[in-house]
Amino acid sequence: MSAIAVTTEKPPAWRRLIGFNLLTAIVLGIAGYLIGYWIGGRINTPSTAFFSAEAGENDISVFLGYGFGVIGFLIGLGFANYPVRRLLGYPPTLAEHESADEGLGRYFRLCTDHKVVAMQYMIGIGFFFAIGGLNAMLIRTELLNPNSHVFGANQYLTLVGMHGSMMMGMMTSSILGPFANWLVPLMIGSRRMAFPRIEAFTFWLLMAAGVILITTIFFGGFQTGWTGYQPLGSQGTAGYDAYVGFFALVGVSMTLLGFNLLATIITMRAPGMTWTRLPIFVWGVVSTAILMLLASPMLAAALFMGAFDRTVQTAFFVPGNGGSSFLWQNLFWVFGHPEVYIVALPGFGIALELLPVFCRKPLWGYRIAVAGMLGVTLLSFFVWQHHLFVSGINADLRPFYMLSTELISIPTGFIFLCAMGTLWRGRIRLTVPMLFVLGWAFNFLFGGISGVFLSDAPSDVTTHGTFFSMAHFHYTIMGGLVFTFFAAIYYWIPKMTGYKLSEVLGKVHFWTLFLAFNATFGPLFALGFMGMPRRVVTYPTSLQPLNDWVTVCAYAIALSMLVFLYNVVASLIFKREPEVANPWNSKSPEFQLPTPVPVHDFDRIPVFDADPYPYGVEPTPAPTVAPAGGTA
């Protein structure tokens, strides 16, 4: 695309490795960690009673190590260059390393092209998703037998916490990271995000966070699960510092991701792209971004409090010293429940975005779908205490939280209404993405209905904190988010990469995943009802057959994921069958662009005159976006 291709000779390979790139970043990150750790060691004076020197570890060192490490990592990537230039008063610029000439190198450094960042997100998130999944397999392996342990009891809890944190922390951005970053500019007709450097920053920060979480193994792990309840967390070894550092960085990354997406959608819609013409996926992004922007800072604040408790010995969560364990529960769930919808809403957006394409009908009830998403967004700030029905906290408010929680099923119902309306009398093509969307509908239905049991305070007394609630949120998150995540992958990856994915393998992947998923998590509802609490390393022997069944099915999920992995490697790396520009005959703007999408997306900012669902209108109107002519 770039008109001025500077034809200089390529320097030798070793020379190209020097500069602001991932390699430098890793080196500087490790150096920063060591420097921070050393400084922390200077600060710690064993004479004060404040520091837990007797524990043989120094939390200040660890936190400073993480802080300096992240800073070194970001400097190595080149994130400090622009701020320093601004500090010296040089005028603002927007783009860095966007030239297509840089080839694959762009993916290993700070690049502000939204498509590159999206692909970085895809790979990065996929990597951590695989680790989270591996943790799940190890958890299930441990639960094969109640009376003999594969892992130590504390290693098991670390696995549980790692799995939860990895999935809730990293997978939160699993759709907004790769897909919203890639799609939103194309869908609303801008060429970029409002703040491209912040866009890249969110990604690299998230990667740093993920690595920090993994380092917990070297510090003894953390035994708190992803909820990190205090004061249990403060008891933990330095492994809990990794949890705090991880989630704090995730909180910052999510805030900025939401901030950037929201700013883009508000300010950079192309002429004619009115609010009522926005693709429904963008509405899903809007509602999610609002939650991210406002809820994540509270998470960060709560974690900073926890970090202070562990280092400078404040007492936010130490009950005998003026703190309260309830404070953490409140702050965590004020963030935590919007978080749950942060992972659900993008799924709604993708499902409703894909249904019209494969039903060949306009989205049925566009406005009510938008109302549903915004309704969920609003209500999700008022439901958090349903996580605390039996905690003894504000027991007189339980009827209110029961009502608000159940009210949230009304806007969620709108999404189902729109899905059902869109299906009605369509010309349904059961492609792989469509299958995943249908799978989402089925799973989310059961996730939602089991949610009613949990929102009902009397019923919650038994189901709270058991495998029932665990099954419930896996139905909504794995059955909801992950299924739509795969729908999005099968739908957009050919467009994003320019290569076909195997449809046969895709269908194998869907059916094995769908069946194995339901065979795994369905019985967990029963296990919860039969009295199995979450996060236990052992359980009554009578529950072993069911647990073993679940474990075997969980392995089947892993195999199904391997099918997917094989499909990706075989199709995208080896076979490389070029895909046409619009394989699904979609009328969405992004599919009107050539494949691969040029660096600058559009030659000129498009003008929209309709929403992206003009199906069944005779004669079919011309594509709403003029194709970029640059490649012609």
Binding site: S52, A53, E54, A55, G56, I131, L134, L138, N147, S148, H149, V150, F151, G152, A153, N154, Q155, T158, L159, I217, G220, Q223, P231, S234, Q235, G236, T237, V318, V569, I573, F574
Partner: protein, 221 residues
């Protein structure tokens, strides 16, 4: 090399690296699980000799952590294992050489011995039922079978305290012994109830939450 061949090499290489990484990752979780030790059979009863120290050996990954050890009857040979293999449905005589100072109990209720034969234990040869909760240094408890024995701490005034493992009997110590009946075959956990993890919130982090220090298993076979 052809482009296809190059890709094949890269993918194979990446797969190999990933497999190694996964192996290392799982290995990290599998390590640090302490081994198990069979109790010695002397006569009709099984004898189990344990030692508790304020700090593990200097070569331990956590040299500052308090810990239980399996020791020989004369406290000469110290082994850092906390899974004890015991025969089912039989009497086990436990002798604990206690080298640690006192910390005090969070719940004074645990200052009374329960679940032992006769409901009492021998503290330096003297039959005792309960100790002052503030003098407790550790507790040997198997909650699943209701066994709980408080271990009196070495007084602060002791002249010759042992600072870290291994501790010969020449150091100041308390000897606690008791007999209990093992349950049916299975895996049972034991723990300490005294907040003895110095440097951790409520004294219950670190060694108190890591199998191999103040926690472990009774493997009844």
């Amino acid at each position: 090399m052809s482009s296809y061949g190059r890709r094949l090499v890269w993918v194979t290489l990446a797969t190999a690296i990933v497999c190694v990484a996964i192996g290392l990752y799982i290995g990290l979780y599998l390590t640090n699980v302490p081994g198990s030790v069979a109790a010695a059979h002397v006569g009709p009863v099984t004898n189990l000799y344990l030692g508790t120290v304020p700090a593990a050996e200097p070569t331990d990954p956590h040299p500052t952590w308090v810990s239980y050890y399996v020791v020989s009857p004369t406290s000469t040979n110290w082994q850092h294992d906390t899974t004890f293999v015991l025969p089912a449905n039989s009497l086990v005589h436990v002798t604990i050489y206690q080298f640690d100072g006192d910390s005090g109990l969070r719940n004074p209720f645990i200052s009374q011995a329960t679940g032992t034969v006769g409901g009492a234990f021998q503290l330096n040869g003297k039959t005792t039922q309960a100790i002052d909760p503030d003098d407790a240094s550790h507790v040997f408890a198997i909650p699943q079978i209701g066994l709980s024995v408080p271990l009196e701490g070495v007084p602060d005034s002791a002249k010759n305290p042992c600072s870290n493992a291994p501790c010969p009997l020449s150091y100041d110590h308390e000897t606690i012994s008791f007999t209990f009946r093992t349950p049916a075959k299975g895996l049972y956990r034991w723990q300490c109830f005294v907040p003895c993890a110095a440097g951790y919130m409520l004294g219950f982090g670190g060694p108190m939450q890591t199998v191999g220090y103040m926690d472990g298993f009774i493997k009844v076979v």
